[in-house]
Symmetry: C3
Subunit: 150 residues, 3 copies
């Protein structure tokens, strides 16, 4: 009734590479290592973390945007954020890149307090996977509490 998996080792390896890529990428973001986070994008990568705004462009642009965002949002209210990724769906695109659709739940904790769990998001990435190197070419974040993004 059952036979052994026939998934090529390349398919298996690719999915696991993407899991590891996201783990390092999001630990870098949550630790505020913004240059390291930006380096996980392609040189011309784009990152739209707020719907309706222009995405940040290029590694330099993404780094600058993250510094500005954190300064504005968290300087007077420091929190430890954790991005929980789940249910990664990887679909090949015609140009050899991959569409990645991932749930992201953000957990934020202030000193001495219990964590707040919000927002609940869907991250839509285009990933360039070259050998063992994974890079994000574009990232768009949709928020479940907003309507316009499905």
């Amino acid at each position: 009734m059952t036979t052994a998996p026939t998934a090529t080792s390349a398919d298996t390896a690719r999915y696991v590479l993407v899991q590891q890529f996201y783990a390092r990428q999001m630990q870098a973001l949550d630790d505020c290592r913004f240059e390291e986070y930006a380096a996980t994008f392609t040189e011309d990568g784009t990152f739209q973390h707020t719907p309706g705004t222009e995405p940040a462009r290029t590694r330099e642009g993404i780094t600058a945007e993250l510094h500005a965002f954190h300064e504005q949002r968290f300087r007077d209210d420091p929190v430890q954020r954790r991005h929980y990724f789940n249910q990664i769906v990887l679909d090949p695109l015609p140009d050899g890149t991959f569409a990645s659709t991932v749930y992201a739940l953000i957990v934020r904790t202030r000193l001495g307090e219990r964590p707040e769990v919000w927002p609940s998001c869907v991250v839509r990435d285009v990933l360039v996977i070259d050998g063992d190197r994974v890079l994000t070419r574009s990232r768009t974040v949709g928020y479940d509490q907003l309507a316009d993004e499905q």
Copy 2:
């Protein structure tokens, strides 16, 4: 002191196939693509999402049940649900199928509001894995706030 893993590529591939299967299955459910969700079950599949009730049976039955459930529960109170799966334990069964025991945390968000995180569940599946094809033969959902299910 350490040696390379000897896990067969079949063992590794199978676990990764199951991760990918769950990702697509639950994105289908959360996007209310119920026919697509039902098609991830075997033809004679069963799905018990509420303890103490009869499980839905067959793909048609599962589709109908989900339409009815969503109509009843969410028509007047629409929410975006997200099913977070975690800690997948896969055990081979004597007939060649696999028992899969998975944590599932459900996150639900209303427009303009912060997410609610509930319920906390354990999903107990029997999976039929034939080559690269994974199907759920039976699914039973246990809820942590209820006592009878351990």
Copy 3:
């Protein structure tokens, strides 16, 4: 533009082994199978679950500590806990072991109530991976609501 992954099957298999290891380890802990949990540590393993305290040592010591901790904390206030692990980063260490840095979100549910989500943690393990056998040599848990642990 893209080429197939070149990750060795050993690298891929190792990451997937660690995922499976954590799934079984934490289901054992959450089901209060403390001897089974302790057996996932090396004979001389250490487990520090509370910052500023001495870690529990050896499998016997870890088992005893967990029984005492649960008796003290949960005897009069039983909860079902679930440990959600995410974003596993695995780094080889010079002695052949692996540093594993993992997010851990704990979900606790009382009978008849909605789950509470806390605390938000980072687990820092040293893992001994010998063939397909994974064991925790040391575990240190850091809590996001405390400052001293980054």
